[in-house]
Structures are given as structure tokens and as C-alpha cells.
Point group: C2
């Protein structure tokens, strides 16, 4: 029998009615002939409440105890989920991370999965039971409880699907799938039927919050077919998978917008080996997450270096730069706190010319000035003024026809 992993996030199990509705989806899959493994998150705002309880007692709680505390949220959901299935006439058994020996390292609050005991789960499935696993948590070699950090339940689900050889890993959320861009900004955005891991990684890292990049990376590494879909309806969602031949016809799959960005530029730093490394080591120590780096030489001895960060990191980044700028021989620092970044993403752009041209052209036509440009193999990003962000995204989306399903778009050279 084929195994299906179904993951339900906190909003999908927030109360008894929602747990029942999620249980009905599980039962449907059982009736369709699957052995089903459910991964569930903590109910609604449970985790936030537990964090508040902890901070009331200790502003800087030991991370081991934090994980011991937070893991109870998922444990509660899975036992309640099993109870719901029981009363609907289906045999279910819940497991904590420890009970299926989901072994991690000992880096509390952001542990990495090492292995999972598939045997215990297979045994229960083969007895006809539905298995409900607490997401987000594991244990280390000594039995200390660990948690997997942001996106942890998605990671649990994908890891389980890989370990169990599941046919598919369904990620239930409150939207229909992954859209060509954020429908709250570009109303005509359409749902993608399929997206590659690499594209999804760029989408996730650049502002599309449907799935955490880490779970996508896991899926890519172990070749797990991920299906992002809506827990409130029966619509087919978005399949995240390896590149498939038909993707090649599509140049740009989606676009993203990150609105709350800032840019720090260091003009005229000494162009000697190690200077950039020094700067970014200093920023890492200050816990600043750097999105994009742009460097250009100016003459043989000097270079301009700029980087983009989230606006909330700006004070820490400023301080770090102030501390180190003299050491770098920096002539002046310039800061923009009104930056937004528009990106287009698509595996197709590897083998197609004209994507950059079309993007820059669409922005020019919309009279949006481009502050800076960065690219990866499957992404082009333009930094623009925040007050032109929506206009920029819309222009780019229309240029690449992201308001139409992929198969209806005009082919690009």
C-alpha cells in the first residue's frame, strides 16, 4: 500500500472543529487506499502562549528547557487528533518525536534531523492504524527533547515522507498552493500547478511564505514529492518536485516582492583579499541576515561594496559597519532604508536570453528606477524604492504573463 504523509499547520488544528475537519481529510485518504501518516503542529497560538509563560519567568530561558516546554504544544495536538479519529471510528495512534526516535543533534531550538525509526511507524500502519506524529520536535542521543526551529513541522513531514518512502507529502495550509506572486499585491496572480525545488527555494527565500526553505531543501535532497494545498477545500494545490521537461518551456515561473529592505553601501574600501570576509563575519556575529551582496571594483585598489538586509536588522548592521569601516579603509558609508526588492524566478531562464532585458524594460516602461541588480542562475532581483514596490511587481508580473497559467503564456526567446 502506498503511504501518504499529510501535514497540518497550527491554523488547521486550532480548535476542535478544525481538528475534526482535518481528521476528515485523513479519513478520505484512508478510503482512497493510502496508509496515512499525519504530522501536526501546535494548536493556533499555543506556542506563542508558552513562549510568553517562559519569558515571564526568565527573559533568557535556557534553550534545553525551552524545547522541553514548547514540544508539549505538538504533543497535545497529536493526542487530540488521535482522539478525534477514534470517535469517527478509525484506529489511530499518536507519537512524540522521541517515541519514533526522531534523532537530532543537540542544538536546541534549531536541531537538525539525523534519523527516524521507520520500523515503529510501519508496524502501526501495517496493523491498519493511522499514525499521528508531533511535528517540530525530536530527541538527541541522551533523550533530551529538541525542536527543529522555524518551519520545523514541514521539515518533520518531508523527512518522514523520505524515510517511509511515501508516495507524496501533502502540506495543508490556508491558501490553494504556491502562486506566481503574492495575490494580496498582484490580484491576478495564478496558482502554479508545479514548481521545481530550486524555484521554490528562491521563492521561499525571497518572500513567498508558504513553505520554509529548509523543508524544501530536505525534499530536494531526498526527492520527496511535496503537494502544497488548502485544508479548507478540495482543490489540487501546487506540486513541488524535480524539474520536469515541460518546465523548460516556461521562462519565469513566479515573482516575489520583499518590501521592508534596507541597503548599506561602503564606498571606496581597500580591494584586498579578506576585506569582504571581515565585514560579513562581523555582520554574522551581529546576527544580521544578508540577502544580497553587490561588489564592483573601482580602479585597481578600491572597490564599492553594498548589501541588502531586512529593515529590522538595520540598527545592528549600522553599528557593525561603523565598528569596522576604518579597518576596511572605507571612504564613506551610504544607507537607504526605503528599499524593496522585486525578483523573477524560473529554471527556464538558464537557457533563455532576454529575461533580464524584459524585466528591466518593464520597469523602465513603468518609470521605476532600479537601484541595484543581483542575479542567481534562476533568479533576477532588482532593488527599487519602497514606494514604487507594488507598481514594480505589477509591471514585472504583466511582462511575464504571471496572470495566466504557464501553458497559456507566449513563448519567450
Amino acid at each position: 500500500m502506498a503511504i501518504l504523509v499529510q501535514k497540518f499547520g497550527g491554523t488547521s488544528v486550532a480548535d476542535a472543529a478544525k481538528i475534526r475537519r482535518a481528521a476528515e481529510r485523513v479519513i478520505k485518504a484512508v478510503k482512497d487506499g493510502y496508509q496515512v501518516v499525519v504530522v501536526a503542529s501546535a494548536r493556533g497560538h499555543q506556542t506563542d502562549e508558552l513562549v510568553a509563560d517562559a519569558l515571564e519567568l526568565n527573559p533568557n530561558p535556557p534553550t534545553r528547557e525551552m524545547d522541553q516546554l514548547l514540544s508539549t504544544g505538538e504533543q497535545q495536538t497529536v493526542s487530540l487528533f488521535a482522539m478525534a479519529l477514534d470517535t469517527m471510528g478509525y484506529d489511530a495512534i499518536s507519537f512524540t518525536g522521541g517515541q519514533i526516535r526522531l534523532l537530532t543533534d543537540s542544538i536546541y531550538t534549531k536541531a537538525r534531523i539525523k534519523s527516524i525509526d521507520a520500523e515503529r511507524i510501519h508496524k502501526q500502519l501495517d496493523q491498519g492504524k493511522i499514525v499521528i506524529v508531533a511535528g517540530f520536535q525530536g530527541v538527541d542521543e541522551l533523550g533530551n527533547i529538541t525542536t527543529l526551529g522555524r518551519g520545523g513541522s514541514d521539515t518533520t513531514a518531508v523527512a518522514l515522507a523520505a524515510t517511509l518512502g511515501a508516495q507524496e507529502c501533502e502540506i495543508y495550509t490556508d491558501v490553494d498552493g504556491v502562486y506566481t506572486t503574492d495575490p494580496r499585491i498582484f490580484k491576478k496572480a495564478v496558482k502554479m500547478n508545479v514548481i521545481s525545488y530550486d524555484e521554490m527555494l528562491e521563492m521561499a527565500s525571497f518572500g513567498a511564505g508558504v513553505m520554509h526553505p529548509r523543508a524544501v531543501q530536505f525534499g530536494k535532497k531526498y526527492d520527496v514529492k511535496i503537494h502544497v494545498r488548502n485544508s479548507m477545500n478540495e482543490t489540487e494545490g501546487t506540486i513541488i518536485t524535480h524539474e520536469v521537461p515541460q518546465m523548460e518551456g516556461v521562462v519565469v515561473s513566479g515573482a516575489t516582492l520583499q518590501k521592508d529592505m534596507a541597503k548599506i553601501g561602503l564606498a571606496g574600501i581597500d580591494n584586498v583579499p579578506g576585506n569582504a570576509a571581515k565585514l560579513f563575519a562581523r555582520l554574522a556575529r551581529a546576527k544580521v541576515v544578508v540577502n544580497d551582496i553587490i561588489q564592483t571594483e573601482i580602479g585597481p585598489e578600491k572597490a564599492n561594496l553594498a548589501f541588502l538586509i531586512g529593515i529590522s536588522d538595520l540598527p545592528a548592521a549600522k553599528k557593525a559597519v561603523d565598528d569596522i569601516k576604518d579597518e576596511l579603509g572605507c571612504e564613506s558609508v551610504f544607507i537607504r532604508d526605503d528599499i524593496a526588492e522585486v525578483s523573477v524566478i524560473g529554471v527556464g531562464m538558464r537557457s533563455h536570453y532576454g529575461v533580464a532585458e524584459k524585466m528591466f524594460g518593464s520597469l523602465a516602461k513603468a518609470q521605476v528606477n532600479i537601484d541595484s541588480i543581483t542575479t542567481s542562475e534562476i533568479r533576477i532581483s532588482c532593488a527599487v524604492s519602497r514606494d514604487e514596490a507594488e507598481k514594480a511587481l505589477e509591471a514585472v508580473c504583466l511582462a511575464f504573463e504571471l496572470d495566466k497559467p504557464a501553458e497559456q503564456r507566449e513563448k519567450t526567446e
Copy 2:
């Protein structure tokens, strides 16, 4: 270094302020030179809320899932408790039942302890850490989470004290200790400094709710010195221990009152072997808890049999008796739903005459009619009318001078 086990119940850890206060008591013991192991219950009404969550989904939840759910309450407390100690400058580590391998049978919701891994605790204590253990819970051989039922955290504390060879097991509660009788009824009741396990068992079973009989039995079996004391003040509480020589001078240690009792009598049943067994098997199947049984032969072939039960069990007991009375050859059934039971308890009464006489005399003097009498080796109980219950308890308490500390009482023959 001597080990001290300190157990804090749900009301003593209900919120952040109370957890902090409990943590201060722990720190005091550390400063006094003890290695301290804390056992904590779920905060305040957490368990009730989780039960309500479960029943909303399933009126008859599977017991395994119930234990998986309820055990999270204690897990939350112990991690929060460790965080509180950390912020006060003390190194602490919390453990679930599973993490110290508190092994039980697989009887969910009322599991029995089989063993505890003392090594893991000793190791932490020897590293200078305060160890915080979740009460009420364990795991079975397969790692399924079990709970120990009512009084479970007391049992965990006493079992840990036994396993670790602790000098004492402190049970913190919201009263100063065990009283000669219920001070809400007999205002002049005094706190006992010491009470034997056997007396405490009779007190606990007959209405004094300070400690669950099961934990006391455990303490007796493994010779654990238990100290029941108030978490809100520094007063010495009541020590529960084996009989000590000075106890022999005291005839009656305490008195109890159970107000909400009922009595069912079966007149003229066939006095043949097995009839009583049939009746009480039927009552057990109906989940009726029988407090006392009184049987007297009347002639060679018939007997009268009566038993006392809690009033809430009366409908179920009535039905059970109606079902079986013809089979027993019963001539008539009489029911009193207005019974209260007054008991005096004391290991001293084994070797002293005159206790029964003094008790019955005090009731007669107070013009309280005695419906029926039952005794054990260290207890005499009289069933009386509920509307005379308080008067009866007061008369008995005054007769045995339970308003005075044991050492000030007149010696009885």
C-alpha cells in the same frame, strides 16, 4: 550529601509568582546543604482544561491518548520551574517521566511504577544541578506515556525518595500539615507533629484529603520519611513515618468525618457461602466503592447485611441490589441516604481498652444515635445521621482531647 525530595502540587505552581516562590524554597534547601530533587504537578487547572479539550473531541477518549495529552501539563511546569531557577542563578535540569525512565506497567490512566533510573538523576545532582521531575507520569516498556492516576505526583515524589535514598520527602500543600481532624468542622483541631503510615492511611481513606493513600502505602513499603508542610510558610509540618515508641502513649491520634454517605441494608438474605461475594462482585461491576460492610447472622439460615457507600454511588448501588436481591433470597431492602460516618484513628488503640466505650459514651452524652459500627485494628467508625454529623465529630474530638497536642493529653487506660 543528603538528598531532599520536594513535591509541589498544582496550586503551589499555578502561576509565575507561585513558581518563583516554590523555587525559593528549593534554593533554601540547597543553601542548607541538600541535593534537591523537585517533583511538580501541572499548573492550577491545566489538567482540567486538557480533559475538557479531549472530551470536546471524544466523549470516551482512548486512555493511551489521554495519558499522552495529560502528561504535557507536568512537562510544562518542570521546564518553567527550571527556567525560574536559572534566572535566580541556580543550575537546574527538568526531566519528563520518560527521561528518567520511570518505568510503569501499561495500564493507562492508573499505571503502577516498576522502576526508576536513579543513575541519570544522581549524575545531574553530582554536577551540582537541581533536578526537576514531572510528577504523575511514566513510560511503559515500549515508550508509551502512562499516568499514575489520582495522587500520582505524591506517588512519584515518594518513589523517587525511595529510589534515591533521600533523607526526606517533603510534600508541599496549602495547609500546615495533617490535623487531628478537619479544622473547618472542629475549629480547635491541632496539627499533628507525627503520624504513622497506618494511621495516615486510615485518615486518608476516611476523609482527610491531604495525601493520597497510594503514596502513603508506597512510603510505608519503602520506609520513606514523608513531611507534609505548607508551601506558604516555614512552619514544621507533619512527619509521616513508621510507628515510633512515643506514639504508644497516644490512644487516638485523629478523627475523621465523611458526611455524604448512604447505607443500604439487605434483610434476611440466605446465609449460604458465596452470597456476599455475589453481591459485592455485582457492586464492583457497577463501579460502586464500598466503604464498610456489616453482616450479622439471624438464626441458622438467614443474615442481615448492610454496607456504606458515598451518596453519589447510591443510584448505581440501588440498581445493582435490585438486580440481585431475589437471587440472594433477600426479604427486604432498606436504604438510608442521610448517613455520615465519624471515625477515630490511632495505633495506640491496639493495646488500650476503653476506646470504644469512650467513643460511644461521648456520642450518647451528646444525644447522637448510632446507626451502625465498624472497626479495624486502628479505627472505630460510627454511622450517624447526617444532621448530627458535626455535633458527633465535636463530641468525639473533645472526648479524646483532639484540641490539644498529643503530649498534653490525659493518658487513657
